[in-house]
Amino acid sequence: MRKVWDIHGGIHPLENKDQSNQLPIEFAGIPEQLVFPLSQHIGAPAVAIVGVGQKVLKGEMIAEAKGLVSVAVHASTSGEVIAIQDNPVPHPSTMSAPCITLKSDGKDQWIEHQGINNYLNLDRTELVNHIRNAGIAGMGGAGFPSAVKLSVRGEQTVETLIINGTECEPYITSDDCLMRERADEIIAGIEILRYLINPMKETLIGIEDNKPEAIAALNRAAEGTAINVVSFPTKYPSGGEKQLIQILTGKEVPAGGLPGDVGIVCQNIGTTVAIYRAIAHGEPLISRITTVTGNACDHNTNYEVLLGTPVSYLLDHSGFHQKKCSRLIMGGPMMGFTLENSNVPIVKTSNCILAPTVDELPPPTPAQACIRCGMCAEVCPASLLPQQLYWFSRGKEYEKLEDHNLMDCIECGACSYACPSNIPLVQYYRASKADIREQKQDAIKAEQSKMRFEARQERLDRQEAEKEAKRKARKLAAEERARDNNNPDPIQAAIDRAKAKKASVKSEKPAAENATESLDRARLKEVLANVEKRLVTAKEKLKQAEQQGSDNVEAFRTAVEKTNSKYLKTKQELITFNAVNPALSDSSSMPAEKKILTGDAAQDAIAKALAKRDAASSMTDEERLQNAVSAVTKRLQKAQQKLAEEQRQEGEHIDLLTNAVAKLDLKLADADAAYQQFQNNNHD
């Protein structure tokens, strides 16, 4: 006997396997319609390569893998594609997803296919390609693309190939029956895997000791091969990949790692058969063994089911009593999920349909308070502290959850099973895991947003800086120019500047010709005011100089005289200007008038608004609605006019205006409707 290791924790729920493993595997038959979800695996959904109305043959690829981590889908019987649309899929969310619906023609006609006689002559990559084209995904649980698992992975060598025939979940017997009946195919499939993976050390088939027939059958078939059948005590969840690896090798898959990290590859029993059929017969994965069991079905057995077969079809075959059934579970009672309705199809990972009665699996009783009994920690196969995780989940303390390794929870449900207070622990963990993942994604997105925001900010700043620099450069250039045609004497320079200014003012004049003359008047007035100011200061300065008996008195006096003459001149200019423009001269007092007028206007507006408000408040609802209608009508008319004009001129805003008109039309309809309704209501 080979040494086996023990896993921490685990439980022994009632096995309930005898109901379904007594009879040989039955072929379920061909349903009228089959539904193929494009995503039956982990990774990118497949892409449909058939069109509605297209006839397909059994085994024909109807959707191809998209990218490396993806799996193709094949028609499981011949018929016609009648729809490619969203259909309910087997998923705990009860949501819909893209599916191809096939109407079978009953002929079940195979596409031409051929096996590979001697795969040993084929290159490994080519063989993996065959498996990829056969659409094989892990048939045990998650549906990981098998080809990806088998691809050559750089430096990593595989020591041990493990075939998982544990099937530790209660009720499910699909692998059990497969092992009993098709041991030869399994062994042949494993030989292919051995060729592909080339395990350096050993190849093990792990089976719980509650399946003696399967163990015997496999032992018989494996005789003379390097394949070792290992049985070990029954305990849930020894079938978990990580747990099985621990049981068979004593090694632990490092947290966040893959079995490959410890030199191990794990495959499911069902997958080995699929691989055998793909290589030896050239048949893609189009059927699987599914257990139908539970007391709400009269006939509990294992079916060979065409993928895409509706669950309801299987149930009808099994004498299903809906009234007795408390819930429909896809998978086992420990990790399966409930189906909201039975119209979903069997997919590559559907190992069991469980239809229990209320007595069999009673609805959960209300959760009581956690009494920290620690039974959950006793049974946890990952050696977590479930009750601590529960408290942290409730408190949404994500850091502590991660610190307590929530992410290593395999959601086996042993803790919930053991909990005397019936707390739905697994749901807490699932929700919290999702929260943590979301938070991480949000954090990544926030980081990204921040970077983009900062980049944008930088860009805006840069643009601003560039503008500023240009402005400065212009100013500098202007100054430079001014300095160029100027002599070093600062006084002269100042005079020149003044002249230049004057000149520029003058030169602006023609440009401003179109502007109203009042602008000129304003300028004159301004000049006048300036000169007056200067005159005043000059006089003051003169006075000061006189008082102080300064030497400059004379100079100041001339300055005053000069300024005075300038003042007079400017005044004269203004007067002549006013004389030349008599019409405007009248309006020299216009600003004041305007002020009054605007004052009046404001008052008018206020008065108007007040009146309007009064009117509005005194208006009845009916009037208000009527007004609304008429206002909108007016706007509509205006818009239509504009549109017509635009159309005449073939302007570029036609589209825009058409939209606006349409919008207003709608608004009018709304207003009208409101008015009508009001009237109706009043009449009632």
């Binding site: 439980i11 966040g256 009672p333 909201e340 309705n341 959960p364 009581q368 449900g413 909990c419 005397p420």
Partner: protein, 355 residues
């Protein structure tokens, strides 16, 4: 077709909280019967009265907190508290004593902290300590076991009378010897006699751990083993407590001189040892959760128990030791996290300490 849509698992184990509590109640039967045999009706009357008071207090608390009364009463947790406290209180105690203890246990130690599952301290032990500190005389005068004196134990009627009117109401309680110091008491006070002398001088020492006490302890041990087989709790805490108590008492035994602490057997079968080990230490709510934590928790209770028994000012110390270790439970849990599958051993000293 609308079917139930809930998360897995869809099946649950055979135990639920109510059943766990019922099992605990059943497991107290052998010990209680032993106590009853030796100390008379007082024990059962304690239990009955405490249960009534506890149900009342619980219902009151639930009503005040606007909780479904029936739902919570059906978890039997308050009855466990009541029975455990009632067993700890000396038989033939007045009704008010028991009621005060229960009210304190249920209202303050349990519901003020948030009800079942949220109490950091063992409610029964909190009630016991409150009574012990507030009413030291009532709480330390244990009736003598029937073999220790000539008189008869009070009858059922007499016992009920005592419950409502106090011990003074009954002539039998004025007799000499109806109450006497417990063996643990005597051992603690003793500084002149060897252990062997004590055994010959005082009849209440019985065979191993005190008349009556030894059988009560054996009864509780039997109940504890029953609970272990039912997987209501794991062996870690009780066994480690008993082992540490044994080690402590063996270390200080010094083969029975006048300053001896008593033999390991004496300590194992005296006072509240077995009762505490299997019914108090194993209280899941207030003890450590991880297995390693439970071992440390139990062991430290054993050490504290022995230290207080010998050198403290109270004769028995179950309640104090347990309450002290209740403080430490979260801390123990934090530092005794098991190694998760696929992880290297966690170095707690490097992560942030304390919860």
């Amino acid at each position: 077709m609308a079917l139930l849509n809930i998360t897995s698992p869809h099946t649950s184990g055979p135990l639920d909280t109510g059943k766990v509590m019922q099992l605990v109640l059943i497991a107290t039967i052998p010990g209680v019967l032993a106590l009853h045999w030796h100390f008379g009706w007082g024990v059962l009357i304690n239990i009955v009265w405490a249960s009534i008071a506890a149900l009342g207090a619980e219902a009151l608390a639930l009503a005040l907190r606007k909780r479904p009364i029936k739902f919570y009463l059906s978890d039997f947790s308050v009855l466990v508290t009541a029975v455990l406290l009632a067993i700890s209180i000396p038989p033939y105690s007045p009704w008010w004593l028991i009621t005060v203890g229960i009210v304190f246990s249920v209202l303050i130690a349990k519901h003020l902290y948030g009800g079942i599952g949220y109490n950091p301290f063992n409610p029964a032990m909190v009630g016991y300590v409150v009574l012990l500190i507030s009413f030291p005389i009532e709480m330390t005068t244990w009736a003598s076991p029937r073999q220790a004196y000539d008189g008869q134990l009070p009858s059922l009627i007499e016992s009920i009378t005592v419950l409502f009117s106090g011990r003074d109401a009954l002539p039998i309680f004025s007799l000499d010897g109806i109450t006497m110091a417990t063996p643990l008491d005597i051992l603690k006070q003793n500084s002149t006699l060897t252990v062997e002398d004590l055994w010959t001088k005082f009849p209440q020492f019985g065979q191993w751990g005190g008349l009556g006490w030894e059988w009560a302890n054996i009864g509780f041990l039997a109940g504890g083993i029953f609970l272990l087989t039912q997987r209501v709790f794991t062996w870690h805490a009780p066994i480690s407590m008993l082992v540490s108590l044994t080690v402590m008492s063996a270390f200080f035994y010094d083969s029975g001189s006048s300053i001896s602490g008593g033999s390991p057997l004496f300590h194992l079968l005296s006072g509240a040892t077995m009762f505490g080990a299997f019914f108090i230490v194993t209280d899941p709510v207030t003890s450590a959760v991880s297995n390693k934590g439970k071992i440390i928790y139990g062991a430290l209770i054993g050490v504290l128990l022995y230290l207080i028994r010998l050198w403290g000012s109270y004769p028995d110390a179950m309640a104090f030791s347990v309450l002290l270790m209740n403080f430490a439970a979260p801390f123990l849990d934090y530092y005794t996290q098991p190694r998760t599958y696929g992880h290297a051993k966690k170095d707690r000293s490097k992560s942030e300490g304390g919860q």
